[in-house]
Structure formats: C-alpha cells, structure tokens
Amino acid sequence: MIHARGLARTFAGRGKGAEKVEVKAVAGVDIDVDEGEIVGFLGPNGAGKTTTLRMLTTLLTPTAGTATVAGYDVVTESQKVRRSIGYVSQSGSTSPEARAGEEIVDHGMLYGISKAQATARGRELFEQLDLDGLWTREPKAMSGGQRRRLDIAMGLVHDPTLVFLDEPTTGLDPQARANLWTHISDLRSRRGATIFLTTHYLDEADALCDRILVIDHGTIVASDTPDALKRQVSGDLVELVLADASRSGEAATVLSRVADDDLTVSGATVSARVRGAGHEVAGLIRSLDAAGIALESLEVRRPTLDDVFLTLTGRSLREDA
C-alpha cells in the first residue's frame, strides 16, 4: 500500500540573522507497508514524522526520493492518492466557529460522497467516538479531547481503506485512548483498512501495531515487530532492593552470575539485564537466600520501547507530547 524510497525533505530555514540554514526534516527514508497492516511511526519531537506523513499524503512535495501510496505516485498522481486515503493531521481540521456536524458532512462531500451518506457515516462516527450530542456544537466550545476525536471523525468520514493518523491519541484521556485503539483495530478487522500512525507513546505502538518504524533525526533507525524490537535489548531488567545496603556488593556478585549487561549498584538497589529472567529468578533468589542476603523487593521489567530506543540511538525517547 505504501512504498517509499529515499524519501527526503529539506526546509530552507533561518539561522541567526540572515544566514540561511537547511533543515533536513526527513533525510531519505524507505517505507513499505502492506495492505491490512497497522504500522506505527515512532519518534521523538522533531524526528520527521509529520513531515513524512505530509509527503505521503501529497500535502508536501518531497525534495528527493519517490513514494507510491495505494499504487499511485504521490507527486505525479496526487489526485488519485488523495482519493484513496484518509488523513488526520496532528493539528486541527475544523473552523472554531463552524458546527461539528456541518464540518464533517462538508468534508465527506468534498470526497464525492452524497450528503445523506456523509451525514449517516458522520453520525455513526460521532456515536462510536463518544461525541454524542455534539453534532451542532462549535469546535471552539468543545474540550481538547472532543476536538481531537472530531478531527479523527473528519479523517474517517469517507471510509478510507488507507488511513494516516498523526498522533491520533494526543490529548485523550486513558479511556478515550483505549476506545480509539479498539476503533482503529476495528477499522482493520471490519473494513480491511491499512493504518499508518505516528505516536510518541510506546505502549500505544506496542498495543496497536504489527510493525514499528522508529525514526530519529529524519532517519529510520529500526523497523520490526514490537516483540522483535524488544528482543534487541539484552534481556529483562531485574532490580533487587536489599534490606541491608551494606550487602549490595555481595548481591551484585550473585546477580552477575546470571546477568548479561548493565550491572549497576546504587545504594540498596542492585540491577542488571538478564536474558530470560523468568527462568533465572528462582535460582537467583535461592542463591541470595543461601548467602543470607535479605530482599526488600524484587522486580522484573520487560524491556520497553524506551529501552529499545536507548539501545538504538543512545538517547532516551521522551514520552511527553
């Protein structure tokens, strides 16, 4: 459904004063998304997610590279691309003074569907996205989360089979977020839609996506399933909190026998990466017991995508929006 090769975009920016600097927002990315896939595009602020999406949705001309979306070239067949996709932008899509329902219907009609069809689908989306009763409300009188859901409804009103969502869940409360995840999964299972979404949320990409592309500084640094990406990190994090901090040296020695990486001691806390921690923990506790080291607590954490990002780029992925 989506194939991009060396897709790049530079912006002519301004440095201090009049000096011209080029901002390399996207520095040549290859993307392949198959029909029916849900692919997550994960990266920190300014990584180039929106810019990539705007190129794929024909809103921005690439400065280099090529891309086909739904079988059409984004530059030479932009009209056909637009006909085949739905797009929810990161910022809004409605006039503050308009009425929500009218915006939805007009938007659908610009895609060529009839007024009746757009109204029916719009109302259905309002119901599914918990916007009941807001049909005649002005967006300026809606809450941020309601407006966000209105944006999502706008992008889906014409039933696209390929949907681009730019940070769809930003500003949604946990319940609305979970509801939207269900909705997005349904789009695929009920309508066979292909979905390409950007997010900062690691749990979101993990929960929703078949595949994750990690982008940083305009370059894709990883592309794999969430599980495979997590496996790249050497093991689960085992964290021991000792009852007696003075025994931490001994505890570290015990832990180091099963540890693979990252053995750290900090006060009463000793931690390390342990591959297959589930297996090792029982033996570990026995060894500690035998040595007479009492534990306050023990925690085993599966690697998060944040850990993956750290491994891949040496930087932590900021989780805030």
Partner: protein, 250 residues
C-alpha cells in the same frame, strides 16, 4: 464535479459569514457613512466637477472602494482557517484546488453584490438619477474587480500566512490606489503631476468607466478602457490565485 466542489466550499463560507455577520455589516456601513456624511458636501459642487448629478459621480467611486477594500481583506479569513488546519484538511481531499479558491471568491462576490445593490438603492433616496442598465453594468464591473482582488488577497494570504505581513502590505497598496483612482473626487480637478501619476492606476479607468455607465453613456472610449482594465485585472487575479492554490502548501 468541479462546480459541486465549488458549491460545497461556497456554501460553507457563506454559512460561516452569515453566522457572524459583523464583517459584512462593517463593510456595508462604511460606504453608507460616506454616502450620508460626504455625499451632501459634493452636491453643491457637482456642477463644477462636470456632473449633473453628484451621485453619478460619487456612487461609482464608492462601489470601486467597496470592491477594492472589501475584497482585499478577504484573505485574512483564510489565514485564520489555515491556522485552524481547515486549509490542509481541504487540500488532502481530492477536491479541485481551484474550487477551493473559487468557492471562497464567490462568497466575496455575493457579499459585494449585496453591498453594492444596497448602496445604489440607498443612493436613490439621496437623489441619484441615471441609467438603470448602466448601474447594473457598473455593479458588474465592480464585482469582477472585487473577484480579482479577493483572489489576489487569498493568494497573498496563503503565501505569507501572517496577518502581520499582510496588513501593512495591503494597506500600503490599497490606500494610494484608492486616492489616485479619484474615488471621492475626479482626478481631472487635480494638478498635472497628480493626473499623470494617476494615469498609471488601472482602477482610475474603472471608476471613470462606471461613472459614464451611470449616466447612460455606454459606447465611449472611457468605458472601453474601464472594461478592458477590469477584464485584465480579473484574469490576472484569478491566474495568480489559482496558481498559488495549485502550488504546494509548504
């Protein structure tokens, strides 16, 4: 398809304008104030200016002012829409880019027709007499000029995307154009140098043409020039507008 899309955009714009008619009303009140507060001053000197009826001199000027000023500021609404993400949302649909522009211009045109008709109608109460057919033609020229200005203004808005850039730009163009078009008083009463400068202002020819149309002189060289300039500006405005709207929206 194209006209359907244009109509969808037009209907949306009209709905929004009617819901908040402050701008429409302000745009209308301004020429009415001129008519009421300035018109009477012209009446006694109309003869000296070569007109039998002060209002065949004055109303055409006000019409062109409406067309110029009202439409030139149309782009400000577009910047607000761009900021809200509406423009990008429309541009990601398969709708024709030209339709997105034309729908907006048509709203401005409709507004101009209403304002112009109200102005002419009101002027009758003040003593306007002249050719009704000429007044219709004059209004038509005004509307074409307004459409050109609206298109140019929308193009400028989409290019600059900033009210702070656009406002001084438009004001610095519109005010001299307005003064040099002889909107309040015909340029012929001015000194030589002022007349020569005003010869370079296309809208002067349009004002003059509308004045002759109002008095019922249809087939004069003045009318010819005015119509020609209107058509040239109309074509140029639409060309710039569509070109900008077709271009990417970076």
């Amino acid at each position: 398809m194209f006209w359907r899309e244009t109509f969808i955009v037009f209907r949306r714009q009209l709905r929004l304008a009617l819901r908040n008619p402050a701008w429409v009303i302000i745009g209308l009140i301004q020429p009415i104030l001129y008519l009421v507060l300035f018109g009477p001053l012209l009446e006694p000197i109309a003869g000296q200016l070569g007109a039998q009826n002060a209002y065949t001199l004055f109303v055409p000027g006000l019409l062109v002012q409406l067309g110029l000023f009202g439409a030139l500021f149309a782009g400000f609404g577009l910047i607000a829409e761009w900021r809200a993400g509406v423009i990008e949302a429309e541009r990601v649909t398969p709708a024709s880019r030209t339709a997105l522009l034309l729908g907006r211009i048509l709203r401005d045109v409709l507004q101009l027709v209403v304002q112009g008709a109200v102005l002419i109608g009101l002027a009758f109460f003040f003593g306007l007499t002249g050719s009704i057919a000429g007044m219709f033609l004059g209004l038509l020229l005004t509307v074409l000029l307004g459409a050109a200005c609206a298109a140019a203004s929308n193009a400028l808005a989409l290019t600059t995307k900033s009210e702070d850039v656009m406002a001084p730009l438009i004001n610095s163009v519109a005010l001299p154009v307005l003064l040099l078009s002889g909107i309040l008083l015909p340029m012929t009463i001015g000194p030589q140098w002022l007349q020569i400068v005003s010869d370079f202002i296309p809208t002067k020819y349009i004002v003059n043409a509308i004045r002759e149309l109002f008095t019922g002189d249809f087939f004069t060289i003045t009318v010819f020039w005015g119509v020609l300039w209107t058509l040239v500006l109309f074509a140029a405005g639409l060309w710039v507008g569509t070109r900008t709207f077709r271009k990417e929206n970076a």
